[in-house]
């Protein structure tokens, strides 16, 4: 009976299909537009040839050059990027070992450990920030004279909230790998640490990389936690932007938009090139 209908679609159904198709793709376009809307504004601002930034007055790339002249902005970018790199590296190392440890626990202990791990993930940024700030204030109470707040306090905070994401990426991969692999390695004469290095870590590599990417993203875009745990004039990009009360004065908005556009266009390019290469590799192989 199905075959009879498939052979000749009545006109009504064809039109209906077309309408639903256009509706579907209009909706799709709308959602993409919605999500990209702020980015479009940001990009426009970054190429706007206007000193006051109040309206669009022509294209220019001068903000991309002027960006480098603004010391405070450059300093904040430097801090943001270095902090993201270090926080990612340290939390990946910490997270990998923690995941392996958690994976080895008994089922009940594991559940509790995962619950604890998820606290920073689910917790409000502001409350996590408050937690860390209170701890640090406590430390500065105990050890008078110490300068607790600054680059390292922010880094510590970043490690604290990035590691749980790494753990969350790696744990499922650990569940997937065959536990016999590890025993086999031991049987073949490997010491446990060697087996760890040569068997387990390579097999969870995808999870480690995914975790690292998430940690990097979380760190580089963080505002609230950095805001609560920094000090001594150490500002990351978000904090710097937040502290500018009138962003079109001194062209802070245009400069920040330029920086941001570089990041997003750069990331997009990297992704497209990566995909392109991967597709080519596939073609080459087959």
């Amino acid at each position: 009976m199905n075959q009879v209908i498939r052979v000749s679609l009545p006109r009504r159904m064809r039109i209906r299909q077309k309408i639903s198709s256009t509706f579907k793709w209009t909706f799709f376009g709308f959602v993409v537009f919605l999500v990209y809307f702020p980015l479009i504004i940001i990009t426009l601002q970054s190429v706007n040839d206007s000193a006051t930034g109040q309206s669009f007055m022509g294209f220019t790339l001068k903000w991309y050059v002027k960006m480098f002249e603004n010391d405070q902005l450059m300093q904040s970018i430097y801090i943001t990027v270095t902090m993201a790199i270090f926080a990612t590296l340290i939390s990946v190392i910490l997270g990998t070992f923690a995941s392996i440890g958690i994976h080895s626990l008994s089922s009940k202990q594991r559940k509790r450990a995962i619950l604890l791990n998820n606290v920073p993930v689910l917790n409000a940024d502001i409350v996590t920030g408050v937690f860390l700030m209170l701890m640090m204030q406590g430390v500065s109470l105990l050890i008078p004279g110490i300068q607790v707040f600054g680059y390292f306090s922010m880094l510590f905070a970043h490690i604290f909230f990035c590691t749980p994401y790494v753990v969350l990426s790696i744990l499922p991969k650990l569940n997937e790998i065959d536990s016999n692999l590890f025993d086999a390695a031991l049987d073949l004469g490997c010491r446990p640490q060697e087996a760890l290095k040569k068997v387990i870590i390579p097999s969870i590599k995808a999870g480690i990389i995914a975790g690292g990417l998430i940690a990097f993203t979380m760190s580089i875009d963080d505002f609230v936690i950095s805001y609560m745990t920094s000090g001594n004039g150490v500002l990351n990009f978000s904090m710097w932007l937040y502290s500018i009360k009138n962003p079109f004065r001194n062209n802070a908005m245009q400069l920040a938009s330029a920086y941001n556009t570089i990041i997003s266009v750069g990331t997009l390019l990297v992704l497209i090139i990566y995909n392109f290469l991967k597709a080519r590799k596939k073609k080459g192989v087959s």
């Binding site: 579907k24 909706f27 799709f28 959602v31 993409v32 919605l34 999500v35 980015l39 504004i41 940001i42 601002q45 109040q54 309206s55 669009f56 070992f97 923690a98 392996i100 440890g101 958690i102 994976h103 080895s104 559940k111 450990a113 995962i114 619950l115 791990n117 998820n118 606290v119 689910l122 917790n123 409000a124 940024d125 502001i126 409350v127 408050v130 937690f131 860390l132 209170l134 701890m135 406590g138 109470l141 994401y165 969350l168 990426s169 499922p172 569940n175 446990p192 760890l196 993203t217 875009d221 505002f223 609560m228 990009f237 978000s238 932007l241 938009s257 941001n260 997003s264 990331t267 597709a279």
Partner: protein, 270 residues
């Protein structure tokens, strides 16, 4: 693998200390009349509880607005995830990554861009001629939440929809179900885990954030995150701030319990 149990220990200790000790601090601070962190001059009091209604009011406001935002995200995100998963894109991951690209740009800057759009006179109105003029309204805040967090709804739902075996759909159709019935009775139930994940990933940050409501709300929208930030960073009132934060923590612990029941291995959150 049991040999590696000990590796978990340092991490556990670190987490217990960094989560447990602050909570104890906060409980202590809630009952103290204290100037900043001067424990020497502090004394016990219940006076902070008198200001709790303000926190509760902000709490309900946050819940309401986040609820609307989450609903809208669900209404937009589920169909979007469905369209992508059912589509014939050669590389669906690329589409997803294009959707998540805005996440890799600074959220604060994106919110500030929305602020510019929302003003009656500014870059947006002067360039495009339309004065949207919604600055300082609940609409601005909810729109901001939707734009910022929509991808967080799309992703988990897409992941779960992709995992649904196509043969199940075909089987349902072969058995005579209409497409809508197939969706309601086969696809939807199977995708609920992703939906839950998406709802949590959108609802919680929206409810507890403060940047969106501060920048787009013009000071008129006081959500719970704004109150906490205000008390700790402006008013130097650590005690009331701790008390209200404890409210938030109770909500978070509640959500953790729910997730713990639904998915113990922690897969939901990613």
């Amino acid at each position: 693998m049991k040999k590696f149990k000990k590796l978990a220990l340092p991490y556990q200790i670190w987490m217990y200390i960094l989560v447990g000790v602050p909570i104890l601090f906060m409980i202590a601070l809630s009952f103290l009349e204290i100037n900043g962190f001067d424990f020497a001059t502090a004394h016990l009091t219940l006076s902070h509880f008198a200001n709790l209604p303000m926190g509760i009011k902000a709490f309900w406001l946050s819940m309401r607005y986040s609820f609307y935002a989450t609903l809208i995200c669900l209404g937009l995100g589920y169909p979007m995830a469905y369209i992508i998963s059912r589509s014939h894109f050669s590389n669906k991951y690329l589409v997803l990554i294009i959707l998540i690209l805005p996440m890799w740009t600074n959220m604060l800057l994106r919110i500030k861009a929305l602020e510019v759009v929302s003003q009656a006179h500014g870059f947006f109105s002067n360039t495009f001629g339309i004065s949207l003029n919604f600055y300082g309204t609940p609409f601005a805040v909810i729109l901001g939440m939707v734009i910022m967090y929509l991808p967080f709804m799309i992703f988990p739902i897409y992941t779960v929809l992709e995992k649904i075996d196509d043969s199940l759909i075909e089987a349902s159709q072969d058995l005579g179900a209409t497409p809508s019935k197939t969706f309601l009775q086969v696809t939807l139930p199977l995708s609920l885990k992703g939906v839950t994940s998406g709802i949590i990933m959108v609802f919680l940050p929206c409810a507890m954030g403060f940047t969106i409501s501060e920048i787009l709300g013009g000071g008129n929208i006081q959500m719970i995150g704004n109150i906490v930030e205000n008390l700790f960073k402006r008013a130097n009132n650590y005690s009331l701030g701790s008390l209200i934060s404890l409210l938030i923590i109770i909500l978070v612990l509640g959500s953790l319990m729910i997730i713990g029941k639904v998915d113990a291995e922690g897969e939901t959150l990613l």
